[in-house]
């Protein structure tokens, strides 16, 4: 009966102070821009919100003194306006920020020769998931890359996923000012495309000595526990050839809490990137400016055949129709098999799930 009772329970530690540090997230590659730099502040554990850092001066500078200024396009998001501006392989770049009477900078980092992606492909895979009574089912994405020339290469895959999905119901009617009226375009918000940055950091240190290519390296797994694979799914893989320091930084973020429930944890620590305060080296600036030679490849996959999806579906609410005035507007209705039904607006309007009804330019069906 050793650990029989080994137990995990919620516990609120008494943390009496929080630090507010500048967080930098920026990138330049040899691919076309615009390049963006995101500036934000750390937040306390009990109220995690993105706190954009506004009205900063942000400049990317190369080793021959050329600069390009980034302008704030959204709160805390700074972008290069000139889309002709491109990073050049072999050049060195650094990021400079002026904010709140402080100057921050990264070191100069060489933009490395990109490594070409040979292939991205998928395999159907089942996985056991502890929290669900059933196993998950989905696609594992793999990458092959070849002709890696450097003795040691540090590769980082930044992935962006786009998927097409439908709402549960078309908008047949709308309830406005105590009356139910037919909706002019029932399919208006029925189909959406949603694009996300894959919140996973996948990196790899490649040593040429053993092989000059990468074969079947697992990148990402998408399963049937969400709407992502319900119609058609696309993954854009950006392969960046980065420097050792950035690799180390990303590796630390990727592994930060690999073992925090285990008996044997290492001492946690502050993950430092390549940004520093020019005037005060003791100020803790977080995040990093990434300079990498990049190549991209996109892949499409369709709904896996015969898959049952296990996400939270909307059910039609037939009884609710009798007291529509109690619902938060807009109130939509759909004519279902058993009659008129209502539901939460999110079940009618795919945009409320973060999608866009505009089909992306790259999308092929």
């Amino acid at each position: 009966m050793i650990f029989n009772n080994s137990c995990i329970e919620e516990f609120t530690p008494d943390i009496n102070k929080y630090d507010y540090n500048l967080v930098v997230e920026g990138q330049i590659t040899n691919l076309s821009g615009p390049y963006t730099v995101k500036l934000s502040q750390t937040s306390p554990l009990d109220s995690v919100i993105l706190k954009p850092v506004k009205k900063a001066q942000v400049v990317i500078e190369d080793d021959s003194g050329n600069t390009i200024t980034l302008t704030e396009s959204k709160d805390g998001l700074y972008s290069t306006l000139n889309s002709d501006f491109k990073g050049t392989v072999g050049r060195k770049y650094r990021l400079k920020i002026n904010y709140n009477n402080n100057s921050y900078s990264s070191n100069f980092i060489t933009l490395k020769e990109p490594v070409e992606i040979q292939d991205i492909y998928t395999e159907v895979e089942k996985r056991d998931i502890n929290v669900y009574p059933y196993e998950s089912y989905g696609y594992e994405f793999f990458i092959d890359s070849e002709d890696i020339t450097a003795d040691t290469s540090y590769l980082y895959w930044e992935m962006t996923e786009t998927y097409k999905f439908n709402s549960e119901f078309p908008i047949d009617f709308i309830y406005i000012s105590d009356s139910i009226m037919p909706y002019p375009n029932p399919m208006e918000f029925y189909t959406c495309w949603k694009t996300n940055l894959v919140p996973e950091i996948v990196i790899h240190k490649h040593i040429k000595q053993t092989s000059n290519n990468i074969k079947k390296l697992p990148l990402y797994y998408v399963d049937n526990l969400s709407r992502k694979l319900t119609i058609r799914y696309s993954l854009l893989v950006k392969q960046l050839n980065i420097d050792a320091e950035t690799y180390l930084f990303l590796n630390r973020i990727a592994n930060q809490d690999n073992n925090n429930q285990s008996l044997y944890t290492t001492q946690p620590y502050q993950i430092k990137g390549n940004m520093y305060n020019i005037n005060d080296e003791n100020e803790q600036v977080l995040g990093s400016f990434i300079v990498g030679g990049a190549s991209e490849k996109r892949i499409f996959v369709d709904r896996p055949i015969g898959t049952i999806f296990h996400y939270r579906h909307c059910s039609p609410d037939y009884e609710g129709v009798s007291h529509l005035n109690t619902f938060q507007p807009p109130v939509y209705l759909s004519s279902e098999d058993l009659g008129l039904a209502t539901a939460n607006a999110i079940c009618f309007d795919c945009r409320l799930r973060g999608g866009s009804t505009k089909k992306p330019d790259f999308w092929t069906d």
Binding site: N4, S6, S40, T265
Partner: protein, 928 residues
Amino acid sequence: MIFKINKLIPQFIFLILTVFVFNFTSFGQKIKINNIEKYNNLKWEDWVLKIEKDYKLNFYYNPDSIPNFTVIIKNDSTLFKNQLNQILQPFKIKASIDQKGNVFLLKNHEIKTNIFSSFYKKEKYSTDNNNSVGKYLITKNEIITKTKIVGDKNKKVTGDLTVTGVVKDFYKKTIISGATIFISELNKALYSDENGEFSINIKKGEYIFILESPESRQEKYKVTIYSSGRLDFYLETNLISIDEVVISSNQYHNVKSNQMGFENISAKLIEIIPSVLGERDIIKVSLLLPGIQSVGEGSAGINVRGSPADQNIFYLNHIPIYNTSHFFGFFTSVNSDAIDNLTIYKSNIPAEYGGKLSSVININAKTGDLKKFKASGGINPITGRLMIEGPLKKDKGSFLIAARSTYSDWILKFIQNEDISNSKIKFADGIVNISYEINQNNHLKLTGYYSFDKVNFAERNKYDYQNKGLSFSLKHFFNKKLKTEFFIIHSEYSSTDENYEDPSYPFKQNFKINHDELKIKNSYNINSDHLLVFGFNSIYYTLDKGSYIPLNLQLHLPQINFGISKALENGIFLNHEWNISPSISLLTGVRYNIYSKLGPEKVFKYEKNSVINESSIIDTVNYSNNKIIKTYQNPDIRISGKYIINEDFSVKVGYNSIHQYTYMLSNTIAISPFYKWQLSDYHIKPMSGQQLTVGFYSNFLNNNYEFSFETYYKKIKNLIQFKDGANITFNKYIETDILQGDLDSYGFEFMLKKKFGKLNGWINYTFSNAQNIVKNPILENNINYGLPYNADYDKPHAFNLVANYEIVKRFSASANFVYSTGRPITYPTGVYYYSGVRVFNYTKRNEYRIPDYVRLDISFKIEGNLRSKKLIHGTWIFSVYNLLGRNNAYAIFFKNENGLIKSYKLSIFANPVVSLSYNFNLGNYENK
């Protein structure tokens, strides 16, 4: 009529000896005491005192066999002996009275005292050249009067004489190490060594020797020394009182010994103190002593006075054990059955030991019985144990074999936690101990040790490791003053870990260390005031630093071979013990270490004053096999002094400096089952430590209570610390992940022991502070921004209570209570997102603490019956670990759940752990 005479009656404590000092008139068997009712209504002990005083009688009996009842005797003018028998009859005690007025009270036995009287006459002045004459009287189960004569009465001698001898168990004839031999007249205490031997320089005369060991009661002898010679003592163990746990070392230890920062735990104590799953564990017991801590349950290793776990060394009969844990540190890899005792030096480490800064822990294995074959064993929910011992040649040589093994991991299946119920454990260990006395001047000893663990932890980690060791020792006495001990020691530890924690990148790693040692230790008794111990030891380390083998072959990941590593550590030492006066003594020791890191090795040289990493390499030097890469030479100094203020109170001061050339490669907070040892090399400097200790010691209430207060300050330089985010698994050039800093540690320890009686035990409180600092002009070479931070295991307040209570014979209870401040922890001071990934921002290391630790354990022990004729004697032990069921925190961790940060507490033993174990030995209780 009452005799009111005898001005010569000495103090009661010396009564026992008066038999031979004064010539008593003979009372004989026919003694009669008139008006005996005048003594009525006194308590037994007072009654005896009064009768002894008034009638010049001397009572001999075992105080435990007769309770302190109220004496009432009717004056019926019968013989005193009959009266005695009558009142003692309920206790099955029979009285015998000899002609000298000695009253012997023995269980079920009457002595034919007329035989004794002739025995006295014949033996009293007999001497036999240089051989001891043990003048003890033996009945079936008791030893009575004790006097000893050494040497030849007629020999003309001047100056110092040397008396050597051995302390043995009277029944088993096994040696007793760590017994105190206190010589009242000289106010001097010495100890029997690990072979039970002692040696003293002394002048001709009569002395009172008071012997005591953790296993036995105090015994007093009158020793008459005529010339140099041999003096052996046979102490009665175990039989005095069943279940009496004699705690700690002994009474003279505390106040009068030269030692400080020293602890001794006997095997008996381990038996009764409650333990997890009933598995007796000597190292877990040591955690109840002041100044000894661990990170938490499930961590290997102990932390002594603020030092990390790798600064301790564990010797099993001189074999160093590089991994002392079974099953994640829940158990110790040495079977407690085979352990005689354990001694810990927390400070004032003798100069014969070097190479570990914090403590030396000697685990002394039992020596086999010299008379007859014996078997014993036990079973509990986890392990089964068996021990066999017996003579190889009667009274000359013996063997002991002890083995222990897990017999099942069925118990894990009952566990709710999936990780655990999916785990498989298997471990075993064994000890073989052979001793042989070739002749009086040459003794041989051979000890073999083996342990292994195979743990499959939820298919995530497969740990597989083993210790092997062998020690051979030959002791030779050149003469009475000089003896030499010669040791050959081999120890090896090897370990592998198959790691599936990251399913995409599974790997396998391994490691092995070989330790080959030669040691010579000489002890030279110059005279009664000067003892020299000198010699050298030489250790040859060969490490296979192992390899990192990726197990996902599809990825073409390279295998990393870390290569081999060798070093030679030599030390010469000299210890001088000087008794300046009976109350002042001084111990000085020096040790000179010469350590050489040897090839083969490829050594990178890095740019000076820069962060050392791949890009700062300026040169590469290849060293061939056994070529010296770097030599470190360091002197160590050990000084301590003792001043006895009065019989019951002393002050001691000590200073130690030590160097350490090995370190543990482990950067987890609790030490995981897989770790490597490394050697100081071209880049990694040896760690050095200094400790200053002051202590006050007192015994009171008839020496039944022992109090000590010790305070220490410790400074360690070149402490090994790992850089933030160090990945020691893959790093072939470990110097790039190591930073060397300082450790400052101080504290004080209160300890109060009650040593005897139905209720015995101890209470201690320790205040301590241990802080690391790693500060460097180069920003990247700082830890915690160069500011001091609490050591991972720092627990400022620690309180332990251990109580054993004998309810009735055969049935006893024991409890311990443990409190300590929670260990330090680093909490995040902010959170942010990078590339969609949530990142915690940590700032100051170990700034916070996990909740305090509180635990109460209890155990009950029931001995089988005490019939003398039976096949098996059994003992049942029922124990409850963590009786309060308190969810003591082991760790606090944070998780991101649907965008919310949640914090959790992980406990290991969240409910009481109940166990029942059975121990047996063939034969009756005596054979235990």
